[in-house]
């Protein structure tokens, strides 16, 4: 009897857990579904390539070409700043770790930097890049702000990727007379490279979708042409979504447009994530094979 009761209790607990979990999974799927079903209606080639304009009723027409371009440029420049520094810092953290207390502080600062709210990054970028450095509201300020945001992600994935490389490889390098930095760059880094790339893709997906850091460092809601210079303001996909549904003249007419942009962003991010998964499964297979 007692045993039966316990079995019954077990069943009830797992049933409740399953119901709740499936409810969350359904809501997650329904968000994907909403974005796709609402976004697909407005997407066509002109939407993706032509310039945005608003008619006299405030209804957005045309496309989001400048915003796509702006997001790409800002993300690319942001990565150009953060990838070299981030990878070097990650290599340092993983290969030179036996140096005591300061190292824990350094690592703690990296994970704390990852936890800084993005709007605070925006404030910092505004104070330093737009005002003190005098870059003004520009592509340059925004991409440097985003670079700082991407930095901890790249550092942490590089560090973990380097740590996962078997110690034998380093010892073999030392045995051949390599110095520490030589083993790090010529032996360990090539092995860890594909995993480091997943970190870079992850960071670019993250900064491409950020809105708060570019709010006051250079994004603008409306630009009549494609971006041409680094010291100009730019349009960006995430900021355009926000602008269309909160500040535009005709919000109801702007909502479908905003969902179209949301779909473009989500598709970009899904592609990046699939790339990460492919890289990961390849490196898993190569480790098993070798």
């Amino acid at each position: 009897m007692n045993f039966k009761k316990r079995i019954l209790k077990e069943r009830i607990i797992f049933t409740i857990i399953s119901i709740l979990a499936i409810a969350i999974l359904i809501s997650i799927f329904s968000i994907f579904f909403i974005i796709v079903s609402k976004g697909i209606r407005v997407i066509n080639l002109t939407f993706l390539t032509s310039i945005t304009s608003f008619d006299f009723k405030g209804i957005p027409t045309g496309g989001i070409g400048p915003a796509i371009m702006g997001t790409f440029i800002v993300t690319a420049i942001g990565l150009a700043f953060s990838v070299p520094i981030g990878i070097l810092a990650g290599i340092y953290l993983s290969e030179y770790k036996s140096k005591g207390h300061l190292f824990n502080v350094m690592r703690m600062m990296v994970s704390n930097l990852a936890g800084v709210p993005s709007v605070v990054h925006g404030l910092f970028g505004m104070a330093v890049f737009t005002i003190i450095f005098g870059f003004g509201l520009s592509i340059l300020s925004a991409s440097m702000t985003l670079a700082i945001l991407a930095l901890p992600i790249i550092i942490m994935t590089t560090e973990n990727a380097m740590k996962d490389v078997p110690i034998d490889l380093r010892e073999a390098a030392y045995a051949l007379g390599a110095k520490r930095w030589q083993s790090a760059f010529f032996v360990v880094f090539p092995v860890a490279f594909s995993k480091i790339m997943t970190g870079v893709i992850l960071a670019s997906a993250r900064i491409a979708g950020e809105t708060a850091p570019i709010l006051f460092t250079g994004a603008t809601l409306y630009l009549a042409h494609y971006p041409t210079a680094l010291n100009e303001q730019f349009m960006a996909l995430p900021y355009m979504i926000y602008g269309l549904v909160t500040t535009s003249m005709n919000i109801n007419a702007s909502v479908p447009f905003a969902f179209g942009i949301a779909l473009v962003l989500v598709v970009l991010i899904v592609i990046m994530n699939i790339a990460i998964m492919i890289v990961r499964s390849k490196s898993r297979k190569s480790l098993q094979g070798g």
Binding site: F14, I17, L20, I24, M109, V120, L123, K179, R206
Partner: protein
Amino acid sequence: MKSIFRRLPDRLLAMPGWISIAIIMAISFFLFYNWIPLFKSTSPFGFFFGTLWYPTAVPPLYGILPLIDATLWISTLAVMITFPFSFVLAIFISYVLPKKLRYTVKNILEIFSSIPSVVLGLIGLTIVAPYFQNVLNMDTGQNILNSALMLSLLTIPLPTSMMEDFITSFPVDQIEGGRALGATESEILFKIVVPGLKGPFSSIAMLSLGRIFGETMIVLMVAGNAAIFPSNIFDPARTLSATIAAEMGETPVDSPHFYALFGIGAVLFVITFVINLIGEIIRIKYEREMGRS
């Protein structure tokens, strides 16, 4: 001379390593640097404990207490939703789902967690808010509950996959010890695995709290932007982060309002820093204990 050259690559490599410390220091410096001039016109007491945030009134009032209150309401509610649901989802993935589906579901969660927050804000604003208002007859659909729900949806994937990792890598000998004593799976789970994972779980909770606390776009779009003291979860509210995002664009540089917004940024930075630090310390402590045993 020769030894300097030999050590040169190592020294050079150390420089990027220091950069994260330098950036953290620069961030805190510039937040405070742009905050301090505020106290020429507003007392610290009036800033921290003032109950009115009217930056454009004459004379302007920069009391951040209602903003802190709203932030606490929203983040508490969001954590109260996020944590139990992540736990349930983690158990579901590791215990109930067949192994083949496990990776698929985890991958989908990972993709979902990198959806930009502005997209969830869009859904909260254009789909959930009208539903709350028209179908559930709330006074306004843009309220604390709506933003907490959207924040939780955004946050859930990360703690879920971290918890799932800890649950599946729990020491097998302890689980088998439980089985040998005749415990059922759920008894093993709640009396052996969960108590054993108290440390990591509390560090995960801190991590989610830190993320929720600083999240900006969702609360900016969905919480209703009213700088008042909310009395229940169906009231609109305005958080610290949303205030910065909403007002900084129109504020002239080096005005008291500008300084006050940097002050909010500094408060936000310090609070999230402390939350993350506590989480990190708990994690390191747990790792040491595991290493010893």
